[in-house]
């Protein structure tokens, strides 16, 4: 599955303006995944369009107005594809939707493991790309989705639902992070995969987690000059993690391959960006310790945050930020399953293992589901190892200075946030988290800075045209 160019990639390439923030700053895409809303621009006369999710040559929408699936999978990343494949083995009608124009997920996209790429190709007729679920319908087991541009509404019903809604990047705000040229790590990769050239660009990759290495390797392959990979965790923790990998041959192999691809690129532990600087766009970064580096792009992400909003809207119990599931990946709501990052950030192997279990379990193939438990359990072990190895150090809270914008939608600075005693109070008094990204970017940052977990979820899950709420 090749990917086509998005409007956001084309606009970045042309140096076109996206939108201006409420306090007058020019803004450009951050997340590259349709979450942050910073890529909004007026497209064909319609304001506030998310350009990172819209193709340059958007095919006219051929959306059915109504669709029914015995099994509906939401999310076409590794977990979703595995679930769709497993469910399809039973002969039921299984369908899959994803916000993105193509399958593969936010990180893997068109670079899925070969076996899964083939399976994905075979299942393509069951896939509705560019389809975003934004609300539950009043009919039982019904959801509302929108797709296409101009968007059309689709009423989708299911007997069994598998949520494979993946994750987004965690951002910790620091001075200058609102400059155009600062991206998420996965975000810059997503933009490059959808048409942004990076040949010859000087890129700093910073934050935490193995994703930084994968992104750096990918960008390097596409001709970028990676100046540095800055990892906040300590050398000791990283070494402990590597020791554990010795017992996980497939992961170890991945790590060795990655390291080989990175070649001489510097990979520094206990290092993080404290400031991004530039006139109107990013020109350089300052690291802890005071060193500065010139660069064109910064790709930064501090791990991943699970996308649990749809699960929460459907009434599934969320424990400590993750969707609660039983051994068969079933949530606390009958007929709703969940697989992949929303149940715990564990990467592709865990996602595929859980997707298979969910797909088999949802279609009564219990023996096959059970056969997948050991692999899933190994995935969960890896998840816990990741959590420990890349836990965010408390000093990182200091990179957010009082005059740093935390809520990019409403331009709320940290100083304001510190004045309030709860999320509710903060929201009401400053509108922090009340903008079009609905707190998906500032929420995890505020949670890290103040310890307040995310608020309740209401429809629409994403901004939608008012007519779609009829």
């Amino acid at each position: 599955m090749s990917e086509q160019r998005t409007i956001a990639a084309k606009m970045l390439c042309d140096g076109a303006a996206f939108h201006t923030s409420v306090s007058g700053e020019p803004r450009a895409p951050l997340c590259g995944m349709g979450v942050c809303m910073e890529c909004r621009a007026t497209v064909d006369g319609s304001p506030h369009q998310r350009t990172c999710q819209t193709l340059m040559d958007q095919p006219p929408s051929t959306a059915p107005h109504q669709a029914h699936f015995d099994v509906l999978v939401v999310g076409a990343g590794p977990a979703g594809l595995a679930a769709l494949w497993a469910a399809s083995q039973s002969g039921v009608t299984a369908g899959m939707v994803d916000d993105n124009p193509a399958a593969g997920g936010q990180i893997w996209r068109n670079a899925l493991p070969a076996e899964w790429a083939q399976r994905a190709a075979r299942l393509e007729s069951n896939f509705l790309p560019g389809t975003r679920i934004y609300a539950t319908a009043s009919t039982p087991n019904g959801l509302w989705a929108e797709r296409g541009s101009p968007s059309q509404r689709v009423h989708i019903t299911y007997n069994k639902l598998i949520l494979a809604t993946g994750a987004r990047e965690r951002f910790l705000p620091f001075p200058g992070w609102t400059l155009p040229g600062v991206f998420g790590a996965g975000g810059l990769q997503a933009l490059v995969k959808t048409g942004l050239p990076v040949e010859g660009k000087r890129v700093v990759v910073a934050g935490s987690g193995p994703l930084l290495l994968a992104v750096a390797a990918y960008l390097k392959k596409r001709g970028a000059r990676i100046s540095l990979i800055a990892e906040q965790t300590t050398r000791a923790r990283r070494n402990d993690f590597l020791t554990l990998l010795l017992r996980n041959p497939s992961k170890l192999l991945q790590a060795v391959k990655l390291r080989a691809q990175l070649g001489a690129i510097r990979y520094r532990m206990s290092t993080w960006v404290t400031r991004a600087q530039g006139e109107g766009r990013l020109q350089g970064v300052t690291l802890n310790g005071g060193r500065t580096l010139d660069c064109d792009y910064l790709a930064c992400g501090f791990g991943l945050v699970p996308n649990t909003e749809l699960a929460a809207l459907l009434g599934c119990r969320i424990d400590d930020g993750y969707v609660a599931v039983n051994h068969s990946q079933q949530t606390t709501v009958d007929n709703i399953y969940c697989a992949g990052e929303p149940t715990g950030i564990g990467g592709v192997d865990k996602a595929i293992a859980e997707g298979l279990i969910a797909g088999y379990a949802a279609t009564g193939q219990t023996a096959l589901a059970r056969a997948g438990f050991p692999k899933r359990d190994r995935g969960n072990l890896f998840r816990r190892q990741l959590d420990t190895a890349f836990a965010l150090r408390p000093e990182l809270a200091a990179i957010t200075t009082p005059d740093t914008i935390v809520c990019r939608c409403e331009d709320v600075h940290l100083a304001k946030i510190l004045d309030h005693r709860s999320w509710r109070d903060l929201k009401l008094q400053t509108r922090c988290g009340m903008g079009p990204c609905q707190g998906r970017i500032c929420g995890p940052a505020v949670e890290y800075l103040r310890g307040w977990p995310a608020d309740s979820v209401r429809p629409p899950l994403y901004p939608v045209e008012a007519r779609h709420l009829l």
Binding site: V22, S46, P47, H48, A135, T136, A137, S138, R421, S422, R424, D425, L428, Q429, R431, M434, G435, P436, Q438, R458, P459, P460, P463, V464, E465, A466, R467, L469, L470
Partner: protein
Amino acid sequence: MSAADVVILGAGLVGASCAESLSRQKLRVTVIEAGVVGAGATAAGMGHITVMDDSEAQFALTRYSQSLWRARIKELPASVEWQNAGTLWVAADDEEMQAVHTKQAFYTQRGVPVHTLDARAVVEAEPNLRPGLAGGFLVPQDSVIYAPCAAAWLMQRAKAAGAHMRLGVRATRVDGRRVHLDDDTHIDAGSVIVACGHWSRQLLPNVPVRPRKGHLAITDRYPGFVHHQLVELGYLKSAHGHDNESVAFNVQPRATGQLLIGSSRQFDIEHSEVEPRFLARMLARAFEYMPGLQNMSIIRTWTGFRAATPDSLPLIGPHPSHDGLYLATGHEGLGITTSLGTAAILTDHMMHRPPAIPIEPYLPARFANV
């Protein structure tokens, strides 16, 4: 145990106004709020400062309150986002134009500046309304504020005048002049004011307020699309009728360029969830009047509960059978407007001074068995 001259239960805009007004009389005021400042109907509502003519008593209180707001425009912090948008009542047909003429006479006789607009003038005033409307009625002094910040500002003023505030504690029982709290403490007070909106019933089960649920939706930023607070004349039927369910076209421009789309009213619904079917009904009504709203991006929807009374007038004044207990609730959809007036006449009453407008129409004693 602690003591105060006045304990106010509830830090919504009404409670905060009372706190400010009474603490400026050198009374020792303590405000008890279970959540955060301005988080109930204050946060959920649209935030208009409007003069209404449903009854003489409603007119008197809304007009007096608006004059109090206008007298303080210069004091308001920027966060309150005071906008003198004016209210434009929209008449769909000739029958509604008749209502416009009646309103025109009512307001004019009482000295409120208003303008009647014909079909062409409505188009000029609001080009995005649907074509073919009969006319409208403009109340230019009506305004719009961001109410949660107004409540916070009034609480801050109250604190500057010596008031205390306790957040995160709930009053569980009022026993004479003693208020019991859910942290197993109590406060003794000279007077207790219950200003908890529809939650007042939890303390005083016989208070005649019913929760009346409303839905609202807010758009992304579309500056200049709407200039006035727009309301269909049919709103009066919706707001002042007692049908179990009704919707009316009501769109408000916010200082941010966002549009707030309402309005809906439902009795006897206790849960606060957004109800897609009812939201749809409300939006469909808005689209009838303003088709361009259909393509606007809705970023959030929510609900809230108004405290409605049987005669659509608030409950302001002493409880008829409990010495030292006062009510300041039942403002339904007009609590933002009438907060300052409520505080002023209640303060005057408690200080044994003649209020600027008669308090009698709002006294809780008008209902038997309160």
